[in-house]
Amino acid sequence: MNENKLKELKRGSAAIRMETLRMMRKKGYGHLGGAMSIVELLSVLYNEVLRYDPQNPSWDGRDYVVLSKGHSGPALYAALALHGFFDTEWLGTLNDGGTRLPSHPDRLKTPGVDATTGSLGQGTSVAAGLGMALRIEEKDQKVYLIVGDGELNEGQCWEAFQFLAHHKLHEVIVIIDHNKRQLDGKLTEIMNPFDLNKKMESFGFHVISADGQKEESIYDALQQAGGVKDSAVCILLETEKAQGVPYYVDREDNHAPKFDEAANRELDALIEELRMQVEDGGK
């Protein structure tokens, strides 16, 4: 990847992170951890990978994004607004009565949202169905399925994965946000996932590992995944919950904190820092 492109992607990440934090800061709470761990992924997807038309969000030829870990909706909204699907003004209305940006994505409310999610696990099967439709129609479009590592506790995920593997449904690119934490704590303490790489491989997937904090690594993984044609494919994205927000990275409450004054100060400083990065064109 050339340097300018990387700079653009980093700037894109800074902008998504900034807008997402602003939304949550305004509300005083939010599903921060899991939103932060997909920021770099969303930047790469919306800047470099996806085919879409913000003027025509339901364009038939688009690639699909299924955010199965629906509680990370705010990060998706930030990406959609920054890429022209709707005015960034909307972002301030998150969770307000009558808003078009509910905490969990709703395909009937928000331009650019392809799937309604929020009940963990369900997006995986919807993505499988979308992928199957593309297969039947012989289209070369893709479905990018973003699933949480805690979400993988749900049996439905494995029913969907079994289906994808059985049908070698490479139209669906499964992306696991492996941030090692779920709501109540570390995966290893709540429900041990063991070796996810081996698990997915033994399920029949072509598994690609990537560093979810590095845009170039994500980009390479997505390129590679797009080339897989003989099996189901999965990107195991190694991330950190609340990445990019040092104050929250190691905190037990980083899933959905309510912000106290100390948190507000930290967030304000970080938002300002990100704003400068966005204006300087990334660092």
């Binding site: 509300k27 307000d96 009565g97 905490s103 696990g121 506790n153 049996g155 709501l183 109540d184 429900m191």
Partner: protein
């Protein structure tokens, strides 16, 4: 016996749940609490700290949790499980039906944040149909407690009680209605207020607005009785029958779709009795949920005391 309180306090329902369970777990090692990765949201994680041997977090796997609880109960353990109401009733419906009710096992389910209490979690997390679903399953008991006192008593009653018991209540604050130490009877409605003209039947989140509406109606010269139907199944038809006789109007209030919930249940009794008394159902009128503050949603869906007053005045 129960008594109404004079105090204008409130209690956080999840705190009551956790404190009561904590006490019961101290006394009885067969009481087991189960969570599906919402222990931070329910406060159940605290039970894991105080009673590590009596707490199980199954991860994000609600259907699995129901089955596990059923299995525990087959060995005589008493499982109390929490998840958000939609993930219990909708997501794990078949497990509740079959391995719970049909198989004769015991489940004490805390389905939290029913109806508009889902607030900023939005439409995906909103259950306006949990009563409808659970009411259609034979032998399932459904409770919609109105305050912390009633909830504490109710949890205690579950010890040694076999079967599927569904307790739907918010995690957050509910205003105090009953005096500390009040005792109730399962399946018996509480007549909180006698009145000659109108019968208001409510439960849970609907009870306080019903009481407030009765006050307002009094000022307008309308005499309203108020009944707390905290046991929604089995329904106390006797109290309904005796209370509705001679009334000009019956109004139900529920944080639920008006179909197949409390209003639906009352409608069935009134129709079978050919009571001839008009019925109005205050509740959600076949709409989906959405995000918003609790206040916004109560107004949007018409669950306030004002809505009850307006309904009564329009219908008399």
């Amino acid at each position: 016996m129960w008594k109404l309180t004079e105090q204008k306090g409130e209690q956080e329902m999840r705190k009551v749940f956790v404190q009561t369970l904590d006490k019961l777990m101290n006394e009885n090692e067969k009481v087991i609490a189960l969570e599906a990765d919402l222990g931070g949201a329910s406060g159940f994680s605290k039970l894991g700290k105080s009673h590590p041997k009596q707490f199980i977090n199954v991860g994000i796997a609600e259907a699995n949790m129901i089955g596990i609880a059923a299995g525990l109960s087959m060995r005589g353990l008493t499982p109390f499980l929490h998840t958000f109401a939609p993930f219990a009733v909708r997501r794990a419906c078949d497990q509740i039906f079959l391995e719970g009710a049909y198989a004769g096992n015991t489940l004490n389910i805390y389905g939290s944040d029913p109806g508009v209490c889902a607030a900023t979690n939005g439409g995906t997390h909103t259950t306006f149909e949990d009563l409808a679903v659970m009411r259609a399953i034979p032998e399932v008991e459904i409770y919609d407690p109105a305050d912390g006192v009633q909830l504490e008593w109710l949890i205690g009653e579950m010890i040694g009680r076999k079967g599927v018991h569904y307790i739907r209540t918010t995690r957050k604050q509910m205003p105090d209605i009953y005096q500390e130490g009040s005792v109730f009877e399962i399946g018996k409605a509480n007549v909180l207020r006698e009145g000659a003209d109108v019968l208001l039947i409510a439960a849970g989140l609907g009870l306080k607005p019903a009481l407030d509406a009765a006050e307002v109606l009094q000022e307008k010269g309308i005499d309203a009785a108020v009944v707390d139907m905290f046991t929604i199944a089995p329904l106390d038809a006797d109290t309904i029958r005796s209370q509705m006789s001679g009334k000009k109007l019956v109004v139900t209030v529920e944080n639920h779709n008006i179909t197949n919930g409390l209003g639906g249940a009352i409608a069935e009794i009134m129709a079978e009795d050919a009571s001839g008394i008009p019925l109005r159902r205050v509740g959600i009128k076949h709409e989906f949920g959405q995000v918003g503050s609790l206040d916004y949603l109560k107004k949007y869906y018409g669950l306030t005391d004002q809505n009850i007053v307006d309904t009564v005045i329009k219908s008399l």
